[in-house]
Symmetry: C2
Subunit: 410 residues, 2 copies
């Protein structure tokens, strides 16, 4: 494809105006929105207001007057339509790891006679750690059945309490069959728990339609809530009043400011809260979600697929004689919103690209990972990024000592 | 006392210049730093930099280049000298409730043959909830021995795994005997866990000298980290390598970015981390801690005691014929940094004071609570606040319908 064709695609792109709602730095092509979304333009002003007026001037009175106390629920309600949920089924709180622990514990308690959690070997490691820790700590009678993706269906039997999976493979980007696996879980009487960190905000996630019981997701990837933004919890309405979770704190209490000596869970998904909400980060996320107003997720998905396909075809057309190998499903509809390639020098190549302003990331053992945030990326960006990659490979420019030096975060 | 005497005390106050390091709103006397510390003047600029430069421009690269990845440890090291700990014994993460759950679980695992947690009835409710939930969820074989304060010593026997207490009573402000109760725990072979939320940053907390095993504390009270700021965990060095906690996530892993399939705890207190740090809130807290540089906590304590004593004596001198009754220890050294009074119309009186710009808070059943942040309060503020309270009582100004209407957060 010629660059001019990408320029035409950008002119015709119905989502193109959304780029104005972000601050994307000059000279940077940002292909890591799957790790940390770009900065929405409204956020700096909103956070300055929160810090200087609401905290600085309003002080403690802002819990009521500025509505801080209601921010977890309000933010959850903004996320709900992005994941096919009702407004009162979602709440923003804590991080994915913490929330996952709460939901796994709560799920096991709901089916006390069952002893198995099913997950897959390629689940995100922190999800695997939490599942194992929940088994080790919560009574010690459960086990994690950690199987290959192809064996999931056959692993879901009547011993299973919980099927806990990630919607998108964080490495290959393969999209799992959320409706099908949820149905398999339900068919044997098990609960389903999905981590939609890599799908929320970038493709249609139909938790309600699929009958998903529990879900967690990330606030700082495609929701653009900022580094370490609060995560969210989804709790199916029919389940909520029976659900309990172990980290019982005052903000999950039915009447937090009565300071009762014993815990009584609040209504619905409020009971997923534990302690005091993290106001600064939460209000950044709430503000960031404003960019989704009036945006149709199906349109976001169409552009995401198109950007990914453009990247794959341009990379393969221009890096033909390198040892770069596609590590993602070839078909765009079978992927989330990132694309990965194998290369034995993947780490150094990613560093060389970053030095040129093309920001992707590396995942062991050998993956170059490129994410496409359709709200702020242009077709020309993707075309330029593919050419940059081709050039780094063709010139051998990646083979400098500084590009081999591993940093703490990759 | 005459107001002019307070003016003289302010002129002689060695901590007076610190007020310039905060933005205290005009026309407000802020007596609720025990719930939410005032805004340090450096924080707005620092947060703007984090949002606009580090997030907006640096994007994902800021995890390394701006040092985000190290912020939990760095912030913990800044808190350590305030609580009598070594730099590598403290880490900033999550909230008090979550951290308490981790530490209680970890402590019970360290002494598996013991079955009892001792705490007191007047502990902060969320602490009570967490202790009970830990017993209910982690095997179900533990019980919480919840006793009156006077019965604590006799309740600490050889069945006890953990003595879990708050350093300062959140209502009465009574300071518990941290060294003595820690010794009692150690004498029977039990572990000690202190919640120093109401003491860290305002009085000398000597965790190391007292031999405390575990502690949690709050970032948004006297540490002024902002609404819902991350909390901190203290883990005694001798214990750290044996300690495990149940919410095992990638940031607590020995090598987070290796994405290993199994969890290996990181060294020392790092293993208290779970998921991705909440960067915005964490860096606000880190910046806020700058006000403590070169400040001697003993001097902070002296002023705190003096402010509390001034308030009590002025209130009692001027509200003599009201039914206000001191709910705190009379001796300043026996209190934390707030003072409470009983009054059957406490809620409405607090609202009337807030309407006059004197901000305290209310705690059920009938407590007016006034906190003294010695870094930004003046003796004249305290004198003025006592007069305002006397005037509200003398005029009956509190008895308006709007002051009786309960808000969500009190």
């Amino acid at each position: 494809m010629e660059r001019s064709q990408c320029e035409a695609l950008d002119r015709a792109d119905p989502l193109a105006p959304l780029r104005q709602r972000f601050r994307v730095p000059q000279g940077v092509i940002y292909l890591d929105g799957n790790s940390l979304g770009a900065l929405p333009a409204d956020v700096p002003g909103r956070i300055a207001q929160v810090v200087e007026q609401e905290w600085g001037e309003g002080l403690i009175t802002s819990w009521n007057r500025a509505g801080w106390v209601d921010a977890p629920r309000r933010t959850g309600a903004r996320i709900a339509p992005l994941i096919g949920a009702q407004a009162d089924e979602v709440i923003a709180t804590d991080g994915v790891t913490i929330n996952l622990f709460k939901l796994v514990a709560g799920a096991l308690r709901l089916l006390p006679e069952r002893r198995v959690i099913v997950t897959e070997l390629d689940n995100f490691p922190t999800d695997l750690y939490v599942l194992q820790a929940a088994c080790d700590w919560l009574g010690g009678e459960h086990t994690v059945r950690r199987v290959a993706r192809k064996e999931l269906e056959s692993a879901i039997d009547r011993d299973v309490a919980l099927v806990a999976l990630s919607h998108v493979d964080y490495r290959s980007s393969e999209l799992l069959d959320l409706p099908g696996l949820t149905r398999s879980a339900r068919d044997v009487g098990a609960l389903s728990l999905w981590d939609v960190s890599h799908s929320a905000g970038v493709l249609p996630v139909e938790l309600g339609a699929a009958g998903v019981d529990l879900a967690v997701g990330c606030g700082y990837k495609y929701l653009n809530g900022g580094p370490g933004a609060p995560a969210f919890v989804y709790l199916k309405r029919e389940l909520a009043e029976r659900f309990r979770q172990p980290i019982e704190g005052w903000f999950g209490h039915a009447d937090p400011f009565a300071f009762e000596l014993d815990y009584r869970p609040g209504p619905g998904v409020q009971r997923a809260l534990s302690g005091t909400p993290n106001v600064l980060s939460l209000l950044a996320l709430e503000s960031a979600l404003g960019v989704f107003e009036g945006v149709e997720i199906a349109a976001v998905r169409r552009k995401s697929v198109a950007l990914g396909e453009l990247f794959v075809s341009e990379v393969e057309a221009n890096c033909g004689d390198s040892s770069l190998e596609l590590a993602s499903p070839r078909r765009g509809e079978a992927r989330g919103s990132h694309v990965s390639f194998h290369h034995e020098h993947g780490y150094a190549i990613v560093q060389a690209l970053i030095a040129r302003g093309v920001i992707g990331d590396f995942r062991p053992p050998d993956l170059l990972r490129f994410g496409f945030g359709p709200l702020y990326l242009r077709y020309t960006d993707v075309w330029d990024a593919a050419r940059a990659l081709a050039d780094v490979l063709a010139t051998g420019d990646w083979d400098r000592p500084e590009y081999h030096r591993r940093a703490a975060v990759t």
